[in-house]
């Protein structure tokens, strides 16, 4: 059988063993907030912790990225992807990713891989192996993954850990890369018995009953479309600071802006991209100076329309995974669930 059993005690050993063979990224307490960072020992890892502030998206779509170098006089450009050693370096293992974040990253995969192939994203993405950790109940009060059908991803990860009995985990591979990891460290795993598999099935069934739905997404896109002029948008627009924090912490927000930096020789330079937010004033302005969403209210509303109408319609996946980060990190205490419900409730 390909699945294995691992005890809680052995998990740090697994992490340390992987550090020898891979670049291992896990949630740590860097900067006093849960942060995904490259680690050099399992001691740094926060096991059983809340979600990292920024999801795994930052590993494949970093906050700031060099795209290419250019020369204004010769017109020569050189991609930073070719120059970097991203492709040849060791594989990255991301340890302990929650199901909602795997689902969230599947949305980005869809957008950057399938719809419009972005070489920068894909080169980084293909280098990563993801070890998920199953949630058996909502991880905190802001989580609403069940509403967004995001806590049981079928793809987007290589291994998944599920605690089937106290301090005992079953580790199930989902890809060849996952199987390879299991084969690398045979001493750390045991063979699961039939009884263990029964426990696994029972655990997954119990899991289903531990989550409840906060909002119903069936029919939400057309309902929101009908409520385009709802007064609720105005109410929340007045509370919002337009700081953009919600978009940066969102695992499915991917917008970026592109800028050139000129060197002091005035000839060469570098083009970079940087996360941007639809909550910012010039986000929707185009060449010639027209701004499609100048008014704050339109900008406030747009994020919801994109998450709850455009992404589901265009890609056939939910645009929000219910991770609750935008609620946790909003200085103005705006709750995405309340906004959706208030808009819906408006006549």
């Amino acid at each position: 059988m390909v699945s294995k059993l691992i005890s809680r005690k052995k998990i740090p050993e697994l992490v340390d063993a992987m550090i020898g063979d891979f670049i291992v990224v896990a949630t740590t307490n860097k900067n006093n907030v849960p942060t995904l960072t490259e680690i050099s020992s399992s001691d740094e890892v926060l096991f059983d912790t809340e979600l990292p502030m920024i999801s795994i998206k930052k590993l494949f779509h970093p906050a700031k990225q060099d795209l290419f170098k250019f020369n204004r006089t010769t017109g020569v450009i050189k991609s930073c992807l070719e120059e970097s050693d991203i492709g040849v370096e060791k594989k990255i293992v991301v340890f302990g990713v929650r199901p909602c974040d795997i689902t969230g990253n599947n949305v980005l995969d869809e957008i950057f891989k399938e719809y419009f192939r972005d070489e920068f994203y894909n080169t980084l993405r293909e280098r990563a192996l993801i070890i998920g950790i199953n949630c058996l109940q909502p991880c905190y009060e802001n989580c609403f993954c069940e509403s967004m059908n995001s806590n049981d991803p079928k793809s987007g990860y290589d291994l998944m850990l599920t605690e089937i009995a106290k301090d005992n985990f079953i580790i199930v591979p989902n890809t060849d890369g996952g199987k390879r990891i299991l084969r690398l460290y045979p001493d750390l795993f045991q063979e699961p018995t039939d009884e263990d598999f029964e426990k696994y099935v029972r655990t997954l069934e119990l899991k289903k009953n531990s989550f409840k739905k906060d909002i119903l997404v069936e029919g939400l896109p057309s309902e929101l479309e009908d409520k385009f002029e709802s007064r609720a948008w105005k109410k929340y627009t007045k509370e919002c600071l337009f700081c953009g924090s919600c978009t940066f912490v969102c695992p499915t927000c991917y917008c970026f802006n592109v800028k050139d930096k000129i060197s002091i020789d005035l000839k060469t330079g570098i083009r970079q991209r940087e996360w941007d937010s639809c909550y910012y004033p010039e986000f929707a302005s185009v060449a010639g100076g027209h701004d499609f969403r100048h008014e704050k209210e339109r900008r406030f509303r747009y994020r919801y329309l994109h998450k709850f109408i455009d992404i589901p319609r265009r890609y056939n996946v939910e645009g929000c995974v219910g991770c609750g980060r935008c609620i946790t990190y909003c200085p103005a205490d705006i709750d995405v669930r309340d906004v959706v419900e208030d808009v819906r409730g408006e006549m």
Binding site: N32, A63, R72, G244, S245, F248, Y280, P331
Partner: protein
């Protein structure tokens, strides 16, 4: 094209902006190969009073003599750029505009207070036309350099028009406003400093001035909700931006309601 002639002058301020420019150690020699610095009293002798292709002005205007001097300089400069909080928004000394300046002057000069007539502290755009603003206290030396580079290739860098939170989140800082109830102006202040203060666990005091659409009312309501008093908040807002029109408008409204003793100062003569 011959090398553009540049001047860097200072009015009332701490001279920190000029010092920041000198602090461009790695780039200074390259810079000198691109431009002729003809007037930079802080750094050199043999200064010429124009004409300038670009004149960088530090500091705010606090008396009528300075007003005349600045107007005169404007006639000699093709492009005039305000650098730093004082020149852009009044700076720390603009706090005086909201206090009794006679008391302040007497504390400093005693009986001689009358020998130093002042006017309300003015950012330089209250006196002359300003072509561009380079923010921060002291001025961001890299943005200064960018301006020179863009000027030389025939453009002008864009102000970010994003809040400090943008870079703060990108750097994955702990949000001290949210988590530690420390009042932080990040959400309404112009980005560009790479969220310098919050990256060291300190609140953003707003030295880069407000974003174009800063939500002052919401921000202040939240700061008060987090336990700050209205006077804490006003002091905080006043620190650098006393003459920022958005701050002024907001403070007037807030004071009208909360504290009738506070008032906007008077000029000796105008």
């Amino acid at each position: 094209m011959s090398k553009p002639k540049i001047g860097i002058v200072g009015f009332t301020g701490c001279a920190g902006c000029q010092l920041s420019i000198l602090d461009l150690e790695d780039e200074l020699l390259d810079l000198l190969s691109l431009v002729d610095i003809i007037d930079f009293r802080m750094a050199m002798s043999g200064n010429k009073k124009g004409p300038y292709d670009i004149l960088f002005v530090e500091g705010s205007i606090v008396n009528t003599k300075q007003e005349e001097e600045l107007k005169e300089l404007r006639t000699k400069a093709k492009v005039l750029v305000a650098i730093g909080s004082c020149a852009c928004f009044g700076g720390v000394q603009a706090i005086r505009n909201y206090r009794n300046d006679r008391v302040i002057r007497e504390a400093q000069y005693g009986k001689d207070a009358d020998k130093f007539p002042v006017i309300k502290v003015k950012p330089i755009n209250k006196v002359v036309d300003v072509d561009h603003y380079i923010l921060e206290c002291p001025v961001n030396k890299y943005e200064f350099l960018d301006f020179v580079k863009y000027f030389l290739i025939g453009g002008k860098p864009k102000l970010p028009n994003l809040p400090v939170c943008h870079q703060c989140k990108a750097k994955e800082n702990r949000c001290i406003f949210l988590e530690d109830n420390i009042i932080c102006m990040g959400p309404i202040i112009q980005a560009g400093c790479d969220a310098l203060c919050p990256s060291y666990g300190l609140p953003c005091d707003g030295c880069r001035g407000s974003t174009l659409e800063a939500a002052y009312q919401q921000q202040v309501d939240l700061m008060v909700k987090k336990g700050a008093s209205v006077s804490d908040v006003t002091r905080f807002l006043l620190k650098y931006n006393g003459e920022d029109p958005q701050v002024k408008e907001f403070l007037f409204k807030a004071w009208m309601e909360h504290d009738k003793n506070l008032k906007y100062g008077e000029d000796d003569k105008e």
